[in-house]
């Protein structure tokens, strides 16, 4: 099977939040500030006028990093959190006891409580709505007007994401924790 990941050309992000809306729509996420699977972080401009640092101001879209070594998975007492065949970290709502230990353990604040199932939920790369039907896109990626998001199979050397990661420098968030994120920020 595949091993899906996402590369983010974050310097092209214009903070339009179309990805956030598309994600909410696609996955039927309830309203409310705490209920979000993906978000766009804002780095404010640094410095005092007129010595402003234009380079410091950028937008950093983010979401669950689909860690290859996911702390949320190791702490789950009932194995409700698991790796699926595509390397996507998923939650089985029938097994989740809502201890919220995974929310403590995730270094990226990627999890939230879904009030419909009363269990913990998170980004699953649109596994239920797209991957399962053989599509290889995600809602956020398909909607992004500036093509920030490149989604694909990291194990396939010919995929766009694999080629991009070979050609361009990139970094991951909190990589020092050893979580092996599958979200890559292109510099």
């Amino acid at each position: 099977m595949a091993r899906y990941g996402m590369a983010l050309d974050y310097k092209s992000c214009i903070n339009c939040k179309a990805c956030e809306s598309a994600c909410k729509e696609e996955n039927g996420i309830l309203l409310g500030a705490d209920n979000h699977r993906i978000w766009v972080g804002v780095n404010e401009i640094e410095g005092l006028f007129p010595d402003l640092s234009i380079g410091s101001s950028n937008f950093q879209p983010s979401q669950c990093q689909q860690c290859d070594n996911a702390p949320c998975q190791s702490v789950c007492p009932t194995n409700a959190t698991y790796y699926d065949d595509n390397g996507v970290v998923r939650v089985n709502p029938d097994q989740c006891i809502l201890c919220t230990y995974c929310m403590q353990a995730c270094p990226y604040d990627a999890r939230y409580i879904d009030d419909r199932t009363v269990t913990v939920d998170k980004c699953n790369f649109c596994s239920d709505t797209r991957l399962i039907h053989g599509e290889t896109t995600t809602a956020c990626q398909a909607t992004c007007p500036t093509k920030v998001r490149i989604f694909g199979d990291l194990d396939d050397p010919e995929s766009e994401i694999s080629q991009t990661l070979r050609d361009r420098e990139h970094y991951s968030l909190k990589a020092h924790l050893g979580t092996k994120p599958k979200l890559f920020y292109l510099t």
């Binding site: 194995n79 097994q95 006891i97 201890c99």
Partner: protein, 397 residues
Amino acid sequence: MDLSKLVPFNKHTVRSFFDFERSALNIFMFWFSMGLVGMMLAGIGIYLIEGHHAYGVTRQHAWGLLIAMYVFFVVSSTGLCIMSSLGHVFNIKAFQIVGKRAIIGAIITILTGFAVIAFEIGHPVRMVIYNVLTPGLTSAIWWMGTLYGLYLFFIILEFFFLNNANHKFSKIFGLAGLVVGLAAHSNLGAVFGFLVARPIANGVFFPLYFILSAMVTGSYLLFLIYGWRYKMKFPPEVKGFMVTLSQVLGLLLAILMFFEVWRALTAIYGHMPERGDIAIHMITSKNFLIGEFLLGMLIPFIIIVWSKGRAIKAMVYASITGMIGIFFMRYDLVHDTQLAPMMPLKIREYSLPPGLVEYIPTATEWMISLGAIGLAFMMYYAADRFFNLDHDPEESH
């Protein structure tokens, strides 16, 4: 079959069950406990209607007062179990009078802890099922929960055999309960210590500190239990025990303060982000300075050192401040672990970049948490009525 042959207990009618000495203190405690339990029931009612929305917990601060209170109760339980084992497992003479009263205390406090956590875990029944069907063996919560279950089983058997004056078996199950209890309890420390994402909690400190602070908690509780039992008029045998207990507690408090100093210094040194800043915030907070340090450690410590452990009546009162301090230790442990936001960028328009994560417990959380203390009082009263918890000097050990 006559149950009292199997488990010796005092028979009561409803009237004789409530037939306690009508002193002002007793009547106050009776209504106080009833009030607390009423509060807990009301809190549970609100929770059943509104779910987790009745609590002040958020995405970034998912664990709140109820987790702190659960830790408070299970630490009390392990503490009582460890301190009582000094007598009837390790045969330290002064502690041999403790036995039954401490073990019933340990059973009651862990049951109360379970009662509290049942209203924090979203699906407690599902937990029992999938804990067995699909165990998460890398999860500290799985080990903690499973071992605590086993621990409860062992200490119940221990109490059963103590009550039947079967010293051989009470010792075997006492030892089993102690070992499993220590494992369970350090695993509870590891629930926090294993959090690689949170440098302030990550590391060896919590698993060790939990055992030490359990022993301190157990000592405070023994003072309170015996102070209440003898209404401050202690027979010589008990007096001797309490002086020894003071001295042991003095040593434990000194070690605890030593631990805290090095914890703070290693956390602050080098000002590592999410650790140094949080540690400074922690030790300069009122919760720590007044709650944990002054009430929880310093006041009892000064009384012990000044009186060379002889001021046992003062120590009973100091154990009240001590337990308040212990409450702050548990609360701060849970709260401080979650202080640093994991998502350090501003994510909404018109919002400031996140500072420290804030959390204020709601009335419902207070009702359930404090109410649970009343539940523990009531169970203790019932146990005291039904069983003879005093040490029988005739019994040989």
